[in-house]
């Protein structure tokens, strides 16, 4: 979230699209009803299903799953056409006036530079035209045909109401109402917030779904202001922290990059990731990259990181391909992987294409499962009727199941969606011999050190060098000492740092994760603070926990004022330039020693300091979003460009294309979702949750049910190209067929909480059906829009 949960109360319009907060984030949704009751806010819900959030909405519009980009680009067109644009904001704080290279093109669904064979783009043309100093050229008159504003207008011009309705199935009259409500926030004294979750990310163009919404928010001037923002409602309690910790195949903690084969040495690496300013007078905060990175290497390798060995740079593994879990499970399936650790994840229920995942696990030499619960993953080798049809004697995998603690049995910090780092305390010992993950991994590492010392082996140096010496007990690093390490210390004085502005690139500071700097200073644990006072009344509680970065509660908050430092809306004042100084209720997201005009580039992480309508080379499938059909399209064509139906830049691993079904064989759209009673596959092990929602089902509309002779509660078989499952039918009015491109499209919905080894009734897990094809950037699988067939069946 750029903003935070309580800030939702400041919104005038709340848009829930690509999520269902009332169901999946119920207590956070309380701030939506707060805004409706006390700020006269309107709630807009756009979803394929009339869900629990929709039940409270002022305005609900259905759309076909996988068509959000068409919906949002149509909204951009409407805003521009009706002049419901915050022009002052757009002129000051976006790249609307920047000129794009002459060789940039968009034709028939493809941007310039596409290579058919590799399914990738040569992105050279997706860039600004630069002047002789290397700065981007701009045209303040907005007359240049290739300035971003004119390119954007041209790009969205195709998305008129009829075209949008034809693709999305949203009736034009519903669409107009949504457009008008959201458009009403283009004025300075109104703001809209967008709340989204997996409903936007679980698509082959998930990142572009979110980009499309960001375009809307930039047009309306809604980013960096109270009650606005781009607000991802994250899933797991600490998935924000896990992402901050860089637990992804190409990341290091603090959104630094794991080097790849082209980063041949430290200086090349630093040059590749330290951007040069694209406009004069920029903060360009990533210019500090070397300070963040060298300090992190000091934290990784301790005294073993020296200038002489390039701070241990060579010890870091370099990647040649994106080894995300889909790719790695594919490698496992092809026999190229021997060992796998599964830590706190029920992989066999969570990964797309369960049958393939099961076959892949069977090929492992060893599997280590670390979990507080007896998951299906840990017993993948056990036969469980048709739910897990295997022969244990044929599976040669050595499986270890290691009991771990859970939240109540360990201390530490977890980070909520609003970037709040909250400290928690241990309330009891875990059952039996369970241990925290940190203790388990340290135990294995110490054994590895012993083995390498005794026997030698390949490259033992990093295993010996990795900094465990700083922990009081190398067999069990405590949360407190690791938290201090994450904050960072001055190695000369031994003192905790106050802020990442103190980091150095000469090895004299150590810091595990630069964005966490300030969370544990010489004054103590800032994450454990519990002063809940909100003196401004705007929901900003600077004394409660610590909000990264720098205890800042609203990101990009420089954009809440005009270039002269005057708040756009006095009632929404975050910061204000007054008597030669900045004053306000939040920590400024800029150098607060600079006067207004010199700091008037709120997006300080960008080398040009502005919000991007045109995203340059950032994303795989284009600098503007474009509507592409899901990989499995119920209409089998793209009405905008029939030759480019789905995202041209998705990765298709060998053999995966054959696992995709067509709309002639599998005519119905299937979407997965969560229920309020359950959290993924954990609560199926909790008695109360298991009683309140004891089994899974498939939700379908009345017309489809009648056509198939299916009554409420009947057993049905749902099948995709990848597999089939049996479950019970839930026939509701919440789903309605939509008229799309001349045909009626039916959507069915599947809750994702099935399991066969829990306290709930034994159920199939919905990933029997889902496809592993993912977003072209993130590889998040398309769980929200794939094709199935459905038929009445005999029960189990």
């Amino acid at each position: 979230m750029t903003n935070h949960w309580i800030d939702i109360k400041n919104a005038n319009v709340v848009v829930i699209m690509g999520g269902n907060a009332a169901e999946a984030h119920p207590v956070g949704f309380g701030w939506v009803t707060e805004a409706m009751e006390h700020n006269n806010a309107k709630l807009v819900v756009v979803d394929p299903r009339f869900n629990r959030s929709a039940a409270l909405a002022d305005c609900y519009a259905p759309l076909r799953s996988g068509t959000d980009i068409a919906f949002l680009l149509g909204l951009c067109r409407y805003l521009i056409e009706t002049k419901q644009v915050n022009y002052e904001y757009v002129k000051a704080y976006t790249n609307a006036s920047y000129i794009i290279r002459e060789d940039f093109e968009f034709n028939e669904g493809l941007f310039s530079g596409f290579d058919d064979k590799s399914r990738t783009y040569d992105k050279d043309s997706w860039y600004y035209e630069l002047d002789e100093d290397g700065y981007a050229k701009v045209d303040e008159t907005y007359e240049h045909p290739r300035c971003v504003w004119n390119l954007l207008k041209h790009h969205v011009d195709r998305y008129d109401f009829e075209t949008v309705s034809n693709i999305t199935g949203t009736p034009v009259e519903d669409y107009e109402k949504v457009c008008a409500l959201i458009g009403s926030t283009h004025v300075h004294d109104k703001a809209a917030t967008f709340m989204y979750a997996l409903g936007w990310t679980h698509h082959t163009k998930g990142a572009q779904n979110i980009r499309s919404m960001a375009l809307v928010q930039l047009l309306l001037g809604n980013i960096g202001v109270l009650g606005g923002g781009v607000n991802a409602l994250r899933g797991h309690s600490n998935v924000q922290g896990a992402t901050d910790m860089g637990l992804l195949c190409q990341n290091l903690p603090g959104y630094l990059k794991l080097p790849n084969d082209n980063d041949t040495d430290l200086s090349t690496y630093l040059e590749n990731y330290t951007p040069k300013a694209l406009r004069p007078g920029q903060t360009n905060y990533w210019s500090n990259y070397p300070k963040f990175f060298i300090s992190q290497m000091k934290s990784f390798w301790g005294e073993n990181a020296t200038a002489a060995n390039n701070f241990g740079y060579d010890w870091l593994p370099k990647w040649d391909l994106q080894y995300d879990y889909t790719k790695h499970i594919d490698m496992m399936y092809k026999g190229q992987v021997n060992g796998y650790f599964v830590q706190g994840v029920n992989a066999i229920n969570s990964m797309p294409n369960r049958n393939k995942t099961l076959a892949a696990l069977c090929k492992l030499k060893y599997l280590v499962v670390m979990d507080p619960l007896a998951t299906e993953t840990s017993v993948f080798w056990q036969k469980a009727g048709e739910f897990n049809d295997v022969q244990p004697s044929e599976i040669q995998t050595e499986v270890f199941r290691l009991p771990t603690t859970l939240f109540a049995e360990e201390e530490g910090c977890i980070v909520n969606s609003g970037r709040w780092m909250q400290w928690h305390w241990k309330g009891a010992n875990p059952p039996g011999e369970s241990k925290p993950d940190a203790e388990i991994l340290s135990g294995i590492l110490m054994k590895l050190r012993e083995l390498y010392k005794a026997e030698g082996g390949v490259l033992p140096e990093p295993i010996e060098a990795v900094n465990w010496a700083g922990y009081h007990n190398p067999h069990f690093p405590h949360g407190e000492e690791v938290a201090k390490e994450l904050n960072g210390i001055d190695l000369k004085t031994g003192k905790q740092l106050d802020s990442f502005s103190q980091l150095k690139d000469d090895g004299s500071t150590s810091c595990g994760c630069w964005i966490y700097s300030g969370s544990w200073t010489e004054d103590g644990n800032m994450m454990a603070r519990r002063d809940n006072s909100d003196t401004s009344g705007k929901g900003i509680t600077p004394g409660w926990a610590f909000s990264w970065p720098q205890n800042r509660r609203v990101l990009y908050n420089r954009a809440s004022c005009d270039v002269n430092g005057k708040p756009w809306d006095p009632k929404r004042m975050i910061l204000e330039w007054n008597h030669g100084k900045w004053h306000g209720i939040d920590v400024g997201d800029f150098n607060m020693t600079l006067p207004p005009k010199e700091s008037a580039h709120p997006f300080i992480m960008q080398p040009e300091g502005v919000g991007r309508f045109f995203s340059l080379k950032m994303l795989a499938e284009g600098p503007f979003p474009e509507h592409y059909e899901p990989m499995e399209s119920p209409i089998g064509t793209n009405p905008l460009h029939p030759n480019v139906v789905s995202n041209p830049a998705v990765r298709l691993l060998e053999g995966v294309e054959e696992t995709l079904g067509s709309h002639t064989e599998f005519p119905y759209v299937c979407t997965t979702y969560s229920l309020t009673e359950h959290f993924n596959f954990w609560t199926i092990h909790c008695r109360l949750a298991a009683i309140s929602m004891p089994e899974t089902f498939v939700e379908l509309d009345e017309i489809l049910a009648a056509k198939k002779g299916i009554a409420n509660g009947d057993w049905v078989k749902v099948s995709s190209k990848r597999g089939s499952l049996l479950t019970k039918a839930l026939v509701t009015k919440r789903l309605q067929p939509l008229k799309v491109h001349g045909q009626m499209v039916h959507t069915v919905g599947l809750p994702r909480h099935g399991g066969h080894n829990a306290l709930t009734r034994r159920s199939y897990s919905c990933n029997v059906l889902t496809t592993e094809v993912g977003d072209a950037n993130t590889q998040v699988p398309e769980f929200k829009a794939f094709l199935v067939d459905i038929a009445k069946a005999e029960g189990v």
């Binding site: 956070g28 992804l248 195949c249 992987v337 830590q343 670390m370 910090c413 039996g432 008695r687």
Partner: protein
Amino acid sequence: MDRRQFFKLCACGATTSAISALGLMPGTAMAAPREYKLLKAKETRNNCCYCSVGCGLLMYSYGSNGKNAEKAIFHIEGDADHPVNRGALCPKGAGLVDYVNSPNRNHFPEVREPGTNEWKRISWNEAFSRIARLMKDDRDENFIEKNSDGTTVNRWLSTGMMTSSAQPNEGGFITHKFARSLGLVAIDTIARN
């Protein structure tokens, strides 16, 4: 107090008892037994482990902090001081004590030997030793020090890791250091999911 006053007081007390016997006790007195129960408990602050709203929790456990008294959590409720949830919890959060005390918790390190159909309890030491052995054999055999261009790449692709999105940051950082020092590239979280 003289004898007369004493009788008066007794009569008063009897009346009060009679009122309480009739079920006319005031509200505060009715709530007293519950307060009394929690007063004996130890209160620990925590945050909900499910979604990312990060609701504040109060966890109540038995145990006097004495050396031989084992704490056990018997009740979890919302923290009224917390500025986001203000004491509220959703149906999942309200049932958290069933997660802590789930009958399906793992208790001991176990191994399932290749081709068999059962778990075997092992010690932590055996678990660490056997896992380290398997890892080292795989790493030594498959570690890639240089790519075909001769660039140092130091990666180990034949083992991977799916990491937790529920453990605290500190465990996450230890996980990261553990994985990268061994040369693991294929680490991922459920953030993609």
